[in-house]
């Protein structure tokens, strides 16, 4: 560690030596990277291309003339499939609502974590816990926590409102709210930790001089903090949005997509089509659609980041 630390300033220099030198043969690089690359090619790249291919075929185990080429029929069919549309609707709501709260609560919690006070270490350790918890355990516990009779949530509400009883997961709207709440419990702390890593780069004397110039805490938040972490936030937002769009564990363990498909996120829908109904072509089409949405959002986000960089 000592060696690494003392070497830091000359890193650029050292790299140059390494790069320019003909000391090491180029094939060694490929030989070293081969196992890692091969793993990714076999488990991700190849199946990914096959998904594209499959999406153009009728591969349904229970229907006739399976295996036939159908062009974009699977994609057209999606938009008259009420189950798919319901999934699409909830995936949209889930992603947008969850991300808004991620950003607002995440920044607030990150500011808390960045405070210099005695509780700092305790707070950071506690904040780390939800991230480390398996979503399946959280989800399955949440299924019981939202139970009307014996659940934790209703019991806690009863401290304030006596005799409160509500079966959250039985009704569509409250089931959706419950799913989003669980998602926030699990991931906002993680988001906050990553925002914190951006906050730590802001030197304290900027705030000091802003204070001398008469800027209050609210003003210095909007004029100093927010602009300085915008780039970091945009990058985080893209990753967290992608994770929301492909969330699976939370609804699998908590609601099984119910009631009446109200909480079946797209990822859950795909898994049902692919592994239960065995509509492989159709499932692939939804998967390709989902990937397309993600790609478009990523491009928009990269564009936004490049705009921030120009400013």
């Amino acid at each position: 560690m000592q060696a690494i630390r003392t070497a830091k300033p000359s890193v650029v220099n050292n790299r140059k030596i390494a790069y320019s030198g003909r000391r090491q043969k180029y094939w060694i690089a490929w030989a070293l990277a081969a196992p890692a690359l091969a793993l990714r090619v076999f488990t991700t790249l190849y199946p990914f291309l096959m998904t594209f291919f499959n999406s153009l075929f009728n591969l349904s185990m229970f229907k006739r003339n399976t295996g036939g080429f159908v062009g974009f029929k699977n994609f057209v069919d999606m938009f008259s499939d009420s189950k798919f549309l319901k999934s699409l609707e909830f995936t949209g709501i889930f992603t947008v609502v969850s991300m808004v709260f991620h950003i607002v609560l995440g920044i607030a919690l990150a500011m808390m974590l960045n405070q210099k006070f005695k509780g700092k270490k305790l707070l950071r350790t506690v904040t780390l816990l939800p991230w480390a918890m398996p979503m399946v355990v959280v989800g399955i516990a949440a299924r019981w926590a939202f139970n009307g009779q014996y659940g934790l949530i209703n019991d806690a509400i009863r401290w304030i409102v006596p005799d409160f009883r509500y079966d959250w997961l039985v009704y569509s709207n409250t089931a959706r709210i419950a799913v989003i709440l669980v998602d926030l419990w699990k991931d906002v702390p993680f988001f906050a930790i990553l925002v914190l890593s951006g906050l730590q780069f802001i030197p304290a004397d900027i705030y000091e001089s802003a204070r001398v110039d008469g800027a209050g805490p609210i003003r210095s938040f909007f004029k100093i903090t927010l602009p300085l972490i915008t780039r970091n936030l945009l990058t985080l937002t893209i990753f967290f949005t992608m994770w929301r769009l492909t969330s699976f564990d939370v609804v699998y363990s908590m609601t099984a997509g119910g009631p009446a498909d109200a909480t079946s996120l797209l990822a859950y829908r795909i898994s049902m089509e692919a592994f239960s109904m065995l509509n492989l072509g159709y499932a692939s089409a939804i998967a390709v659609f989902l990937f397309g949405v993600m790609a478009v959002l990523s491009i928009i986000n990269v564009y936004a980041i490049s705009r921030v960089d120009i400013d």
Partner: protein, 289 residues
């Protein structure tokens, strides 16, 4: 008359500090409550006898704590074999991700040619392809190869999932190891593999520890891979979903909370022990993203 104005603002400041302190500590208490209370509830549920569990209000300090549920989990639920499977798969996946990740990280950090740069970017971007998009085709591909429900098949999937993050972090660290150290080793007659494993690897221990800790948690939390690619090889994360139940709305909470605790207690202890390392790792990854 002269003293008063000087004292006034100071007293004002002191009171401000107290208020800020109160706000800080009450917010801290609120955050801790929101995060810890559900976890506490899972724990006390696991040591509450089933007869008391299905009552309201909830006793947050159990009246008759018992470890009966844990005994049942061991005898009826086959927890031991789930733990064994989880550790076999996680162990190999950790080893594989560190060994192959280290090799790839060295290649990406020390060679500056177009081809290898593109390979590096491709490796990173492949992590953006979501598992659900490739799940079914991977399954079919695996079935052709006879890898479904086998240890090697699962280990390959776990290792592959860990690869992009591991390479990203390890590469940052290799770049910080000065090349002159390698040159000195060469002068002393070290061959390439000796250099990589006897010189670089020991210098990377802190980075490897960080990766191992984070990857360990990732492996334990993985539901997706074992759910779709294993049937007989039962791991803990899937095990909690297969607790026998009467119908879809029935939750055998006594057993589920117990298995939940068996999974999360070690993780909590782990986080308490390695809080600093985990933070470092997450932030290193976060900044680079």
């Amino acid at each position: 008359m002269n003293m008063a104005p000087a004292l006034q603002p100071r007293r004002h400041l002191a009171r401000g500090k107290v208020i800020v302190g109160i706000i800080r500590w009450s917010l801290t208490a609120l955050i801790c409550f929101i995060i810890l209370f559900p976890l506490w509830w899972i724990f006390i549920s696991s040591i509450t006898p089933a007869s008391e569990l299905y009552t309201s209000p909830i006793h947050y300090l159990p009246l008759n704590p018992t470890f009966e549920n844990y005994a049942r989990a061991l005898s009826d639920m086959g927890i031991a074999s789930k733990v064994k499977n989880t550790f076999i798969i996680t162990g190999f996946a950790l080893g594989g991700s560190i060994l192959f990740g280290m090799m790839a990280a060295y290649a990406f950090a020390r060679f500056d040619r177009k081809g290898i740069k593109i390979a590096y970017l491709a490796l990173l971007f492949s992590s953006l392809i979501p598992g659900i998009v490739t799940a079914r085709t991977t399954y079919d591909f695996y079935r052709t190869l006879g890898l479904i429900d086998t240890y090697p098949g699962l280990i390959v999937l776990y290792t592959s999932a860990l690869m992009p993050f591991s390479v990203l972090i390890l590469m940052n660290f290799v770049q910080q190891v000065p090349y002159t150290i390698e040159e000195a080793a060469e002068v002393d007659g070290a061959n390439f593999l000796q250099k990589l494993f006897l010189i670089i690897l020991p210098l990377m221990t802190p980075a490897i520890a960080t990766i191992a800790i984070i990857n360990f948690i990732t492996c334990l939390n993985d539901l997706f891979t074992p759910l779709f690619f294993a049937n007989r090889i039962d791991v803990l994360s899937v095990g909690i979903t297969t607790v026998p139940r009467k119908n879809t709305y029935d939750v055998p909470w006594d057993m589920i909370s117990t298995i939940g605790c068996i999974i999360i207690l070690p993780i909590i202890i782990f986080v308490l022990c390695f809080e600093k390392k985990i933070m470092e790792g997450i932030m290193a990854g976060g900044v680079k993203q």
